[in-house]
């Protein structure tokens, strides 16, 4: 608490971090006077944040002092979802939870208890770390938090053995930036300035996306392909690179295996065939390949949204084969970008304490199947139902899949639900016990970007408001109430930070608890990724042919697999629901965070759906009409925005994760598929056929 407790009427400046689960993870400065923060700005000294948060982050002050902050524990005083609460003491809250959990463990076994989290407020300690001490000790069901990027992570592993790609700052050196299924403008806006520095020097901008996002409007080349056909496009590009001898023979020979197999594979992807699958003319496939191969300093940034589909892993695998073909791996300004992990090798064992679980084997439930898990639609929960659910740093209604099914599960009378949040969210409406969470400015934490190699320290700027508490405090106190006597449950946040930084990993060389407090953030220098041309694959090389992929049941090279909900894979479904719905992030929400902030609501407006004019006219829909959007999973009513170019015919776009209760029950994830992707249990939000009709 080095910066708080300043003398009255003198301004103090407290360095913090925006933890709302963003690539950029901004460094912030809170300006505080007489015990109250009066302004929150971005840190100018940090080259990534460069003085400002994003549109969402401008409103941090309105969030921390929001009149709707949950400040006291509550218990349900009506039916589930009815919104009636009675304030209780922490003592009563802890006793109720401890008794209920102890009873559940005695009658149904420890795996009848399940945490649900991911993601609101991020943090190495309070989100990734200490809550798992509690759940490990219990022996609770493990929640697989695989909503974001996991399918692609597995795919990149097959190719490179490691997913960590180029730093955003390095893009100033690029000759070509390819935003593939990503939307930097809305989800990583601080990286755009680096791309623009390269563009000022003549670099080309290419966007591959079914939706014309802001950078697509500026792009030198915009590939507006049919949703879910990216793998076919990538293999078509590979074919041109090889056919036209544009590939780097020297690099391929030295650092890759399986080039012949790739050649055989792309022989199956003639340009007419790829053009037919992707709805991209052959000339654009060729144009892309030639532009891409012009310089090794070409970087491909892959987003997450387009990978959240049944064929998401195979899609990323196909795209990942392009950089080594042009020899851009290990090159300044080249390579790929997906996620960075290597700069935060904190000791997760220290934080999470898997030893407290010991040799007990507990089941895993994928968070993408929460509704199925709660309603007994999963075989494992049909036999052994979830009886106790603890939701923290997460809000599955509206952010998760198949919201209607999740709601059905949360309405179960025999389910005991704890929700620990800063606000009475959509999910919190179904809680038996509500616990007030501290705002991030009220607790100490360590954060890391997940694109860009920063580790950042958040000093607490305020005391927790009302009776709110940090995650560490709640899980440690609850553990003690459950009778767990391990010393770790008495640790403070500072203890855990110190313990988990006690590492010999060179990335953490200069990073200690004290240096974090003093410097606020570090840029970990990991150099150009793969500069040594060493790869953690079985062969030690980049694998165009992956035996590991083959063993796991995938095409050993790559393949276009028509998505589960598509004209090719499900013609009957397609006849009923002929529109591909894509649900990217708005710039004004991060998952469901911020929607309850009046300044954001004013700017965001009501949820809309962008529809091509051709699809609208065949349905008698005019601009501004209300339409119903539906499939077998649900139905929502939205305002139509007609376009000639933002989406093509057969595609519709609606921004995700508006709160259900703030939109009259019309959150878009009522329609979202709750299955697992082809790889790693990834989510499938983008595998989503719908029909649209005038309301």
């Amino acid at each position: 608490m080095h910066a708080s407790g300043a003398a009255a009427s003198a301004m103090s400046y407290i360095h913090g971090v925006c933890p709302r689960n963003c690539y950029d993870t901004c460094s912030l400065i809170s300006e505080k006077i007489d015990g109250r923060i009066v302004r929150i700005v971005g840190d100018f000294d940090n080259p990534f944040t460069a003085g400002t948060p994003c549109v969402k982050g401008q409103t941090h002050l309105k969030v921390v002092y929001h009149p709707d902050r949950l400040l006291h524990p509550m218990k349900r005083a009506g039916k589930k979802g009815e919104g009636k609460w009675e304030q209780i003491s922490w003592d009563e809250a802890y006793n109720t939870i401890a008794k209920k959990f102890t009873d559940i463990i005695a009658t149904d076994g420890s795996e009848a208890i399940m945490p649900y989290t991911f993601s609101g407020t991020f943090g190495q300690i309070h989100q990734f770390g200490v809550p798992w001490r509690f759940f490990n000790k219990i022996g609770a069901t493990t929640i697989d938090r695989e909503v974001c990027l996991w399918a692609g992570l597995q795919a990149l592993g097959y190719t490179y053995g490691d997913a960590s790609g180029a730093e955003p700052e390095d893009c100033v050196n690029s000759d070509c930036f390819i935003a593939w299924g990503s939307d930097e403008a809305y989800t990583s806006v601080h990286s755009v300035k680096f791309i623009n520095k390269a563009r000022d020097k003549g670099a080309k901008l290419v966007v591959v996306n079914p939706h014309r996002n802001p950078l697509a409007s500026q792009a030198d080349l915009f590939i507006q392909l049919r949703p879910g056909t990216d793998a076919a496009f990538a293999l078509g590009v590979a074919r041109v690179l090889i056919d036209e001898n544009l590939y780097d023979k020297d690099f391929v020979e030295k650092y890759t295996i399986g080039f012949d197999k790739l050649k055989e594979k792309v022989a199956q992807y003639s340009l007419p065939k790829v053009a037919k699958i992707t709805a991209i003319p052959e000339s654009q496939i060729v144009e892309f390949a030639r532009l891409y191969a012009k310089s090794k300093k070409s970087v491909i940034r892959m987003g997450y949204g387009f990978q959240r589909r049944k064929n998401g892993g195979t899609t990323i695998r196909a795209i990942s084969l392009l950089p080594p073909l042009i020899g851009s791996i290990g090159v300044e300004g080249g390579g790929f970008q997906y996620v960075s992990f290597n700069h935060w090798p904190m000791d997760m064992g220290y934080m999470m304490r898997p030893d407290l679980l010991g040799s007990r084997k507990v089941r895993d439930i994928n968070m993408n199947e929460l509704g199925k898990a709660l309603t007994g639609e999963l075989p494992t929960t049909r036999e052994r139902p979830i009886k106790g659910l603890f939701v923290f740093s997460g809000n599955p209604i509206p952010s998760g899949t198949n919201v209607n099914l999740t709601r059905k599960g949360l309405l179960r009378e025999d389910l005991f639900t704890v929700v620990f949040d800063q606000f009475v969210t959509d999910t919190a409406e179904y809680a038996d016990i509500l616990l007030p969470a501290a705002h991030f400015l009220e607790m100490e934490e360590v954060h890391a970007n997940y694109l860009g190699n920063y580790i950042r320290y958040n000093a607490p700027a305020l005391e927790p408001m009302g009776e709110s508490k940090s995650n560490l405090q709640v899980f440690h106190e609850l553990a003690q109430r459950m009778g767990y006597t391990e010393a770790c449950f008495k640790e403070t946040t500072a203890d855990v930070i110190k313990g988990s930084l006690n590492s010999t990993n060179p990335a953490l060389k200069d990073i200690t608890y004290e240096s974090l407090q003093e410097k606020h953030w570090f840029r970990v220098n990991l150099g150009i990724p793969f500069a040594d041309h060493k790869f953690k694959t079985p062969s030690g090389k980049i694998e165009f042919y992956s035996a590991a992929a083959a063993k796991a049941g995938f095409d050993p090279v790559a393949e276009y697999v028509p998505d589960q909900e598509s004209k090719e894979a499900s013609p009957e479904l397609f006849a009923k629901y002929p529109i591909h719905l894509v649900t990217p992030a708005s710039q004004k929400l991060l998952s469901s965070q911020w929607h309850n902030v009046p300044e954001i609501q004013e700017s965001l407006g009501e949820p809309t759906i962008t529809i091509n004019r051709a699809d609208a006219s065949s349905r008698g829909i005019q601009n501004g009409n209300y339409v119903v959007v539906f499939n077998d999973r649900g139905k929502v009513k939205l305002k139509a925005k007609l376009t000639d170019a933002a989406v093509r015919p057969g595609v519709a776009m609606s921004y995700k994760s508006y709160w259900d209760k703030l939109t009259g029950g019309n959150t878009i994830n009522r329609l979202a598929l709750d299955e697992n992707a082809d790889m790693n249990g990834g989510s499938t939000f983008s595998t989503n056929l719908v029909q649209i009709a005038k309301a």
Binding site: G51, T52, Y186, F222
Partner: protein, 179 residues
Amino acid sequence: MGMQKAFYYNQNYCVGCTSCAMACRIAKNVDLSISWRQVDEYETTFRGREVARYLSHACNHCKKPACMAACPVGAYSKREKDGLVLQDHAKCIGCGNCVAACPYKAPKMNAKTKKAEKCDGCYDLLDKGELAACHRGCPVQVLKLESLAKLESNGAVKEAIGFVTYATEPSFRFEPAKK
């Protein structure tokens, strides 16, 4: 008159994130029923395809401010040192003449206070050596408030999509449009 300040905007690179408008609202505590700065979206043609372009705009701190000319009580003045057009809010009688007179619709009538208000160029921040809230708040670095003479010597132009130069001589300049 000292060095006239002007807004600079690179329409080629703006992504419409609206961070500038939100930074303005928060810094100036602007009532939710009105905006001092707003971001409009336009559909236009770029290299033969239909694309979106944005225009972030506020008060243009004109050389010949229509608001100032229209105000019956002399509430508006042009600041000597940087040409910012400021309004003495205590003097405003809420007649709405400035709202009607401004060709850029910069002054807004606040229904709660029944007075007009508009962008003040964050003169208070500038006087402390800081940047205007929108300038600082642009994460893409396409919006600035700086010396008009400097902008003009750097080749900034007077035209952009969605913007017309009226006789008030607005202090708003643009990066030349990419062709």
